[in-house]
């Protein structure tokens, strides 16, 4: 019977309820005075790890929450510990602050996580499918590729069989739902309907203070995190203008030609 050693990467992002604005210099998203919290998909990931522990008594050895960023990124490790993670780790990148967060690209994060996961002896990674700030939906897939592990992304249901060490993941795809069955080790990325995270109980928030948070750096992990991309321009999406109704297909085609769309 296999034991599970789970790593849950989490990301600190601008709270989902806040409307992001571009700063005056049009160089970055405005972050001063803005509320930050854990990426909603990451919360679902922590919740899923905790549920696995509850569903299969004695199978889950440990759940570690890990994040990368400058020291403020630690703010979301405490909520992860309060939700049920046993310990946490911060991969400290002092040069990446709130205001230039886009400089830490998915490939760099995947490399950092690969190094961390290999060091930690984990055999399962559960993480959010994408972060709500850049909506990349890349890190999980890249991580699986770098590790050479199975991957099951956009999970809407996860079933683990301890006896056979098989993981069945149902995914929401364009045509409907698809179920993959694979073995450990595995990277799973979570989708919205996987679970509804619990409210953290107040006593658990206090207990989280006593749990360990370790720090490490990209240098320690032997990873170069320099960005491969330059941001040329940041702009608001163009304001929506009203459309018009057309009566026939011919009218539609001529309108489209008028607008230069075809």
């Amino acid at each position: 019977m296999s034991r599970l050693n789970i790593v849950v990467p989490v990301k600190r992002v601008i709270d989902y309820a806040v409307k992001p604005r571009i700063n005056a210099a049009k160089s970055a998203i405005e972050t001063s005075g803005v509320k930050f919290s854990m990426n909603p998909f990451c919360e679902i990931a922590v919740e899923e790890a905790v549920r696995l522990r509850e569903r299969h008594q004695g199978v889950v050895e440990s759940i570690t929450a890990v994040t990368a960023g400058y020291s403020k990124a630690q703010d979301i490790l405490r909520p992860a510990l309060a939700l049920g993670a046993d310990k946490a780790a911060l991969i400290e990148t002092p040069e990446i602050t709130e205001s230039n967060g886009l400089k830490l690209e998915p490939l760099a994060v995947a490399k950092l996580l690969r190094a961390y996961v290999e060091r930690s002896g984990a055999n399962m990674v559960i993480m959010g499918k994408q972060a709500i700030d850049d909506d990349s939906n890349q890190t999980g897939q890249m991580l699986a590729g770098l590790l050479g592990w199975s991957q099951a992304t956009n999970a809407s249901a996860v079933v683990f069989d301890p006896a056979t060490s098989t993981v069945s993941v149902t995914r929401e795809v364009d045509g409907g739902a698809e179920t993959l069955s694979t073995s450990l080790p595995i990277v799973i990325t979570t989708d919205l309907r996987l679970n509804q995270p619990r409210y953290t109980k107040l006593p658990d928030i206090m207990k989280a203070k006593k749990k360990k948070i370790e720090t490490t750096t990209p240098a320690d992990l032997g990873v170069d995190i320099s960005p491969r991309l330059t941001i040329e321009l940041l702009a608001d999406p163009p304001k929506r203008v009203g459309g018009a109704k057309v009566e026939s297909v011919d009218a539609l085609v001529s309108k489209l030609k008028e607008l230069g769309a075809i």
């Binding site: 919290s37 703010d75 405490r78 909520p79 309060a82 409210y199 953290t200 109980k201 107040l202 006593p203 658990d204 928030i205 206090m206 203070k209």
Partner: protein
């Protein structure tokens, strides 16, 4: 920190230096000095080293986040129906217990969270932004009943009741009677001591918050009326022993919070359920109510903020007249600015009072001022918020008018505004009399 606290810090430091120079036991005193310094740094809910009283530490911020979500998901959908039905949904009370919201200051060994008073009232404030009725239910249970038992209960009482009150049983504080409100110590409920050491309680109480749902009651009764208020004694009663809910009031505001007339008809109380000492009831009541004042101030500040948030969002995002959002007219802007200033002032006063209390200082004046002012601000801002939202604000469907009705109780319960003014005046007079 209170000036006296600071003075003693300096005294300890001076003594430590002298002793270090003059004593062979210098290492002991060095250690004591550093312990004193660390204790001074403990900020009990307030972030260390920050400039503002309104910045809280990580614990309190996390509690607030959690409660804010709880309110949005669980409380908000039910606010209107609970108000119309004049009944708290039992699921909300169960959810508050389930999430550890009902034993905030209770030590961990009794099943509580072991957090500070500032944390407890932060939660009261957050809850009130969504529903002042749910907020007062939590406030009375935590800052009055839990606190009474925690501070004055014997080890036996604490171990019997605190865990239950952390997980499932709601508490109520029974002091007021039909003929004794502000004049609390004119209470008529009698307690009689029996030969076996137990007591019999006979009488009735009125205006008891949580009265209909509570299972644990802290009851004040007079054991020796011939000694006047010095006979008043506090007891812990369980509902099955004979506490009867005679009537639930139909109120102007906080309608979902049950306010009950309760009766004790020769109810037997074992000797072990005496709270504190015989005749010490008046002291317990006064101290409890002083703390409770800050709790109500927090409820009123949350109420004001909740009404303000809703109405101001409406005037800047939803309602346009004469080609612009109504919030952009200068008349509105000035009213909004004034209200924002007053809410900030109320919050500063109440969290300052809480900080003094958490640090062991004397907070009677600050608590009275905080409650007085917060209830005034709540009434004014809630009333304005209705106006800012116009006709829509006047409809019950919008739920905003509820804040206006709820605010009225602020100047009445847990010490009327006139009583607060009197308390403050007496303290001022004392200071200014040569």
């Amino acid at each position: 920190m209170a000036i006296n606290g600071l003075r003693s810090q300096v005294a300890i430091a001076k003594n430590a230096v002298w002793l270090e120079r003059n004593s062979t036991h210098s290492s002991t005193y060095k250690r004591l000095f550093s312990i004193a310094a660390t204790t001074a740094a403990a900020n009990n809910g307030h972030a260390a080293g920050t400039a503002s009283i309104l910045e809280f530490d990580d614990d309190v911020n996390m509690f607030r986040d959690m409660v804010s979500r709880f309110c949005q998901d669980i409380v908000q959908p039910k606010v209107r129906e609970m108000d119309e039905a004049e009944k708290m949904d039992p699921e909300i009370i169960t959810a508050m217990f389930g999430n550890g919201l009902m034993a905030i200051e209770t030590p961990e060994e009794y099943g509580g969270t072991g957090a500070s008073f500032t944390a407890a009232i932060s939660i009261v404030e957050e809850l009130a932004k969504t529903d002042p009725s749910v907020s007062v239910c939590n406030d009375v249970h935590n800052t009055l009943v839990n606190t009474c038992i925690r501070k004055w209960g014997s080890e036996d009482l604490k171990s019997r009741y605190l865990p239950q009150m952390a997980t499932s049983k709601l508490g109520a504080f029974a002091l007021s009677e039909p003929s004794s409100g502000s004049d609390a110590f004119a209470l008529k409920t009698r307690a009689r001591k029996l030969k076996d050491g137990g007591y019999v309680i006979d009488g009735g109480k009125m205006w008891i918050t949580n009265g209909a749902e509570a299972e644990i009651f802290v009851v004040f009764a007079n054991l020796a009326p011939e000694n006047g208020y010095k006979g008043i004694t506090a007891f812990v009663l369980e509902k099955p022993w004979g506490v009867k809910v005679v009537k639930k009031e139909h109120k102007l505001g906080i309608r979902a919070s049950s306010t009950a007339v309760i009766a004790f008809d020769e109810v037997h109380v074992p000797a072990s359920n005496l709270l504190g000492k015989e005749g010490a009831g008046y002291k317990i009541a006064i101290e409890c109510l002083n703390e409770g004042r800050i709790g109500i101030a927090a409820q009123m500040a949350g109420l004001a903020q909740g009404a303000f948030n809703r109405a101001v969002s409406y005037v800047y995002n939803d309602r346009k007249q004469f080609g612009k959002f109504v919030g952009e007219f200068q008349g509105m802007q000035f009213q909004i600015a004034q209200a924002a200033t007053e809410i900030e002032a109320a919050r500063l006063m109440l969290y300052n009072a809480a900080r003094i209390k958490d640090n062991g200082g004397d907070f009677v004046k600050e608590a009275a001022m905080a409650k007085l002012y917060a209830s005034q601000v709540a009434e004014k801002v809630a009333s304005q918020a209705v106006e800012w939202m116009g006709g829509v604000g006047f409809t019950r469907e919008e739920v905003l008018e509820k804040y206006f009705r709820d605010s009225k109780i602020g100047s009445i319960y847990e010490g009327t505004s006139n009583i607060q003014l009197q308390t403050i005046a007496k303290l001022v007079q004392k200071r200014y009399t040569n």
